[in-house]
Amino acid sequence: MTAAVVCRGLEKTYVKGREQVPVLTGINLEIEQGDFLALMGPSGSGKTTLLNLIGGLDHPTGGEIEVEGQSLGGMSNKALARWRSENVGFIFQFYNLLPVLNAQRNVELPLLLTKLSRKQRQANAETALEIVGLADRARHKPGELSGGQQQRVAIARALVADPRLMVCDEPTGDLDRDTADEILELLQMLNADHGKTIIMVTHDPRAADHAKRTLHMDKGKLVTAGALA
């Protein structure tokens, strides 16, 4: 199986005033296609920063990062934006749905960046909503949906453009236990049945139990051995 993500000596340092704050120091990691990986660690350990680098939301300050066969290190912001739209689905803790758009239109958003016709976009969005079990809520706006339903819409939005990689930042952090389990089972189904590679940042060990494997981070380093020697 080919690797979905390869990090070699990955570093990220933020500059605050005159101070340099290292957040990631020498991350070596390989994640295979079809993996479901949970990243755990205390606050400030660098797990969200690592997730952002893998998702192409930020540039590393050192080392190499290759995602879906593409080296992200030297890409411009514009190229990175295009790459994200084609290769990554994002799921956020607070869903980040646009409140004025209904579920269907929220799910359609990533498809506006493609050349699909309006009709095709609508059809794909309907399919994505069906996959997450919310076809009957397509016309509802986020404010009219429960937290769990909103996260399902966000998951539909993440998978509508059919990316191979889905990155999830605390996807159940704002949900009660039962709803969280439903969302995690949905992610498991996408991983098992649709072959999505899923990387999930979480504080919750029960959430991590739904993943195939778990890596722990502390002070900007992986403390559990990754797949890369």
């Binding site: 998702g55 930020d58 994200r84 739209s85 646009l98």
Partner: protein, 387 residues
Amino acid sequence: MFSQVREITLMNIRNLPSRVGSSSVIVVGIAGVVAVLVGLLSMAVGFDAALKGAGKPDRAIIMREGTSSEMNGNMTPEQRAIIKAMPEVELGSGETYVVAAIKKAGTDIDANVVVRGVEQTAFDIRDEVQIVSGRGFEPGKAEIIVGVAAAGQFEGLSVGSFLPVRDRDWQVVGHFTAGGTALEGEIWGDLDTVNSTFRRGGISSTMRIRVAGEAEARSLDRKLQDDPRFDLMVKPETEFYASQSEQRTALINGFGLSVGIIMAIGAIFAALNTMYSAVSTRTVEIATLRALGFGNVPVVVSVMTEALFLALLGGSLGAGLVWLVFDGYSASTLNQASFSQVAFDFAVTSELLTMGLSWAIGLGIIGGLFPAIRAARLPITTALRGE
């Protein structure tokens, strides 16, 4: 790209009802700027039109050399007779230009009104002068006719009433229009009767003539300059009224623009503040779109479009209000050359409305640009945290 821009822009516009309070700051601010600017400049345009409209190329005024006011001349009946006989002159009317203090309607304040003594030929020379009620005055009688603007703005000038001027009671026998020009703010009477009332003998202050065109007026001017019997000059009416209007319209325009610019600076800050707050309340939304792969250009364009939409709404509101309230509104101002009131209508022209909307667009662009750039430049990872 277009669908990205359209979708984000529509989303922003749909979002407006949830931000009525802050959005209305832009709308009201820019409406105020445009209303004041267009309102003040419409005054200048109206004043200019009232004076310039009174001038025709086939008419000229003969007045004392070097003066700019109709008040200052002294033309004897003999001089007038010689000029009337000159080949360039088709018709001539000696005119005496004096002022009378009359109470302004609804106030206790007296203001000066032009009383113009004219010969009967004046009505042939100025064919725009039409009696609209009553009749014309009869030569030799203490009768006057009153322009409709003066009749509306001063007390005791209805047809049939008597107006005490100097030691005589003048009867108002008619009202006249003059094509909306400044003449409508005047009172007209018979030249000889006005002269005797104001104890001027036969001396008129100016003479109004009809000529074939401006070239004949200039030719006559040269002739009179060369003739030692006269200390007179001939000015085509168009030139005369343009110079009368120039100083005042420049003053109003200058004042209007100054106030407009000061208000515009305030409106820019209001627009900036509103758009910064609009962008900051949607930091996470904008960052989410950028995370999904939307580019910076659609984000900038959508924020700018929203600012322009609000600015145009404000501009239309301001311009529309001024048009409804002020267009055709009658006012009067002091003509410094004669110390008399010049009546004029505010003229909210399509040019002024276009200019007002252009200002609104300009303010919208300035108010939207910086917040738009900020929205597009904020690092996505920072913006996703709502910072």
